[in-house]
Amino acid sequence: MGVRLVEIVERVKNRPGGLPGVDLARLNLKVGKALSRLAAVMADDPVLVACAERAAKEIISEGDTQ
């Protein structure tokens, strides 16, 4: 369950120079689901995965938090 979603969450959480709590809150809001807490028990729905990928890419590419 949620293998790809978990991978996305880990990527955001571990981005270099990030603030994990802030970055994951941003991911959750952008996707509209609490992925950081629920990814492991959610199905890898293709639409949701694509949305999460877009959000993660945006968060990681934006670089520094503050």
């Binding site: 941003r26 809001l29 934006e62």
Partner: protein, 172 residues
């Protein structure tokens, strides 16, 4: 005290202008909050909310300031708004093309655009939502228009790499 400067109640730490509370905040706070609203609501709805909130905030404040000088013509009221916009730190605006029928406002500088660039670099979308709403509120109050008749947008934004920010207000 100038009409465009807040009055300070030192005992309660209140800054009041046009009977509305004014507070100091920096570009880090302003832009982080703006991005968070976009994260929470999505860019389109966040833009609508911020424009509407700016208009809702600016209109009554400016209505009070205009009421102190009832002899002012429309152009003078808009120039007062222009001075206020600058004295509050939002940027240097040129509203000379704005009339009761709408028009454009050039921002020679914009706090939001400069702040976004300084904080995060080039923006993927226009960022001057507050200025759009501010100028809608200013025109609405100056021309005594119903707010429902106004629409506003940012045509070009310095934060996206354009030389200047250009706002447009349409009166329906």
């Amino acid at each position: 005290m100038s009409a465009e400067r807040p009055d300070f109640d030192a005992g309660r730490n209140l800054l009041l202008l046009g009977e509305r509370r004014i507070i100091f905040h920096c570009h880090h706070y302003n832009l982080f909050l703006q991005r968070s609203i976009e994260d929470g609501l999505g860019p389109e709805e966040a833009t609508r909310l911020q424009v509407a909130a700016a208009m809702e905030s600016a209109r009554p404040l400016l209505t009070k300031l205009y009421a102190k000088e009832p002899e002012l013509a429309l152009v003078d009221k808009l120039l007062l708004a222009q001075r206020l916009f600058g004295s509050l730190g939002f940027g240097q605006a040129d509203c000379t093309d704005l009339t009761a029928h709408g028009g454009q406002i050039r921002l020679l500088t914009s706090h939001y655009a400069i702040g976004w660039l300084a904080k995060w670099g080039t923006a993927s979308r226009p960022v001057c939502h507050f200025p759009v709403g501010f100028w809608m509120g200013a025109l609405c109050a100056a021309a005594e228009l119903p707010p429902e008749r106004l629409q506003g947008r940012e045509l070009s934004c310095h934060a996206q790499g354009d030389a200047r920010c250009l706002l447009e207000i349409e009166v329906l």
